[in-house]
C-alpha cells in the first residue's frame, strides 16, 4: 500500500472547499491512516510470508521472493479437493437458502395476515441464536439420525443457519417491488408462482445476487460447522483441511500456510469487491439491520 506516503502531498487547491460536509482535515487523515496501518499489519504478514519459502512468524521481506510456496501446495489432494468441497458446500448452501427464502418471503410480502408479524419476529429471533452453541447438540442430533459426514445434511444445516437473515433481507427487497406489476400478469391468467418467477424475481435481481453472495461468503469461510460435522478427509472443505494439515503438525511450513490462505481467501475477496462495487455493502446492511 502506498497510502502512507501520500499524506505529505498537498491537496490540490479547491478540493477541500468543494468537499461536503464541512472541512476535510489533516489530523483526521493522520489518525485514520494510523488505524489503517495497524489493521494492515497482520494481513501484511500473510502476503509476505506467502512469497517466502523460509517464512516464520516474523514480518520480513523475503530474501528471495518466489512462488515456491504456491507450487508446493498445488497438488490435487492438498489444494484442489478441499477447494472443490468448499465450492460444493458453499454453492449448495447459497442455492438452498435462496430458494427457501424466496418462497417464504413471497406470501410474507404479498398477503397481509396476523401471522406475518409474529413470524418475522420469530425469524429475527432466530438470527440471534449463537450457532456455535448449537453445534454440540447438532452433533448429537446428526449422530442419532446417522447424518454425520454427509455433505447434503451439512448443506441443509448451513442453509438453515443462513435462512433467517436471508428471509428477512429478501422480504425487504420484495416489498420494494410494486404489486401493481404482478396484477397485470394475474389479469392475463398467470398464476402467483409464474408471476413471482417472471416478474418479481427479475426486478429484484440485484438483491437476490447480494443475498446469494453473502450466504456464499459466510459458508465458504465457515470453519466450525464442517469441522464438527464432516469427518472424513475426502469431504472436508478448505477451512478444515488447512487447519488439520497445518494446525496439527509439529513443524509448520508457514510459507505454505500463507500461500494456501491466499488462494483460499481469493474467491471471497473477489466476490466482496463485486458486491461493494455495486454499492452492495451498505445496501445489504440496510436490508439486514433496519428491518
Amino acid at each position: 500500500m502506498t497510502a502512507p506516503a501520500r499524506t505529505a502531498r498537498p491537496l490540490p487547491a479547491g478540493t477541500a472547499a468543494t468537499a461536503r460536509p464541512g472541512r476535510r482535515s489533516t489530523p483526521a487523515d493522520a489518525v485514520l491512516l494510523l488505524i489503517g496501518v495497524s489493521f494492515l499489519m497482520p494481513l501484511l504478514w500473510l502476503i509476505l510470508a506467502s512469497l517466502d519459502t523460509r517464512a516464520g512468524h516474523e514480518l520480513k521481506f523475503p530474501a528471495a521472493p518466489s512462488l515456491g510456496n504456491f507450487a508446493a501446495i498445488a497438488s490435487p489432494e492438498l489444494l484442489l479437493r478441499p477447494l472443490w468441497n468448499s465450492a460444493v458446500l458453499s454453492l449448495g448452501t447459497a442455492a438452498v437458502t435462496l430458494v427457501a427464502a424466496v418462497l417464504a418471503a413471497y406470501p410474507l410480502s404479498r398477503y397481509s395476515s396476523r401471522f406475518n408479524r409474529p413470524f418475522m419476529y420469530t425469524i429475527l429471533f432466530g438470527t440471534c441464536l449463537p450457532i456455535t452453541a448449537i453445534m454440540v447438540p447438532v452433533y448429537g442430533l446428526f449422530v442419532q439420525f446417522e447424518l454425520l459426514d454427509s455433505m447434503p445434511a451439512t448443506i441443509l444445516f448451513m442453509a438453515t443457519t443462513a435462512l433467517p437473515m436471508a428471509i428477512w433481507m429478501i422480504r425487504n427487497f420484495m416489498d420494494g417491488v410494486p404489486v401493481s406489476l404482478e396484477e397485470a400478469a394475474w389479469v392475463d391468467g398467470a398464476s402467483r408462482m409464474t408471476a413471482l418467477r417472471t416478474i418479481v424475481l427479475p426486478l429484484m435481481k440485484q438483491g437476490l445476487g447480494v443475498v446469494f453472495i453473502f450466504v456464499f461468503i459466510q459458508a465458504w469461510g465457515n470453519f466450525f460447522v464442517p469441522f464438527v460435522l464432516l469427518l472424513s478427509e475426502a469431504r472436508q472443505p478448505a477451512a478444515v483441511s488447512i487447519f488439520s494439515f497445518f494446525g496439527q503438525h509439529g513443524a509448520v511450513a508457514y510459507g505454505q500456510l500463507a500461500a494456501f490462505s491466499m488462494v483460499y481467501s481469493l474467491p471471497v475477496l473477489a466476490l466482496y469487491v463485486i458486491v461493494a462495487r455495486g454499492g452492495g455493502s451498505s445496501f445489504a446492511l440496510s436490508g439486514a439491520v433496519r428491518g
Partner: protein
Amino acid sequence: MPVPAAARQLIRYLPVLPAVLLLLVFLAGPVFWAFNASFTNAGLTGRSARDPSWVGLDNYQRLLADPVFPLSLLLTVVFVAGSAVVGQNLLGLVLALLMRRARPVVSSVVGTTVVAAWVLPEIVAAFAAYAYFSRDGTLNQLLGVLGLGGQDWLYAFPMVAIMLANVWRGTAFSMLVYRAALHDVPAEVTEAAQMDGAHGWQRLAFITLPMIRGSITTNLMLVTLQTLAVFTLVWVMTAGGPANASTTLPVLAYLEAFKFGDIGYGTAVASVLILIGAAFGLVYVRLLKDARP
C-alpha cells in the same frame, strides 16, 4: 362451493413450508435436543453414547461446582464487553466519524483495509492473528523497535491477544453500520448547530449521537451476539489455554463434549450459552418492535 377463507389462507402460505421445516428440524430441533440432553449422561462413545440415561439436574449441579465454569462465564463476559461493546463498537464509531472528515482517498483506502480483515475466512484471520501475536511475531517486532521487551502474548496475556484480534477482525461491521447511519443524518442539522456556535464535541454529543441512537442500540446487540459465538479465533490462537485462561463458553462446550467425550455436560454448557443468546435476542427483537410501530 367456494373454498373457505381459512383453507385459502393456508394454501397461500404453502410456500413458507420448506423454510419452516428447515428451521424446525435444524434450528429448533437442536435447541430442544440440547435442553433434553443436558439432563442425561450422553457420551461421545461407549454405552452412554448408545443409551444415555436421565440424570436430572446432575450436569447443572456439576456446572456450579466446577471451578472452570464460573471462570469461563467471566472470561466470556470480559471478552464480549471488552472486544465487542467497547472495542468494536467504539472503534467502529470513531472510524465512521473520522471518515466523514478525512479525504475521500484516505477513507476509502483505510475502509478497504478494515473490511479486508472482516471478509477473510475466519480460519485465515485466526492464523494471521496467531502469527501477529506469537513470540517472534509482528507485534513483538514493533515493540522491539520501541525498545520494549518481547512478551509471549499468547501465553502471558491470552485474553488480551484474543480481544485485540477480535477487535481487528470484527470492527468493520460496526464501521459499516455507523457509516450508513451517519450518512442519513441531514447535513443541514449539523450545519445549523454549527451556525449556532456549537463546537465539534457538542455537535457530536447533543446532535449526531442522539440522531443515530437506534443504530447504536442495534449495533451493540448484533456485535454482542456475534462475539458471544466466536470460537475459531480462540481455538486457533490458544485452544482455550494455557490452563483454561482463555476458555470462553463456546470453547468450554466444545472441549467438554468432544475432547472429554461428555456430550451431556457439554450440552449443559451449550444450553447456558443458548439461554444467554436468547435473552439478548429477545431484548433485540423487543427494541426493533418498539422502534417500528
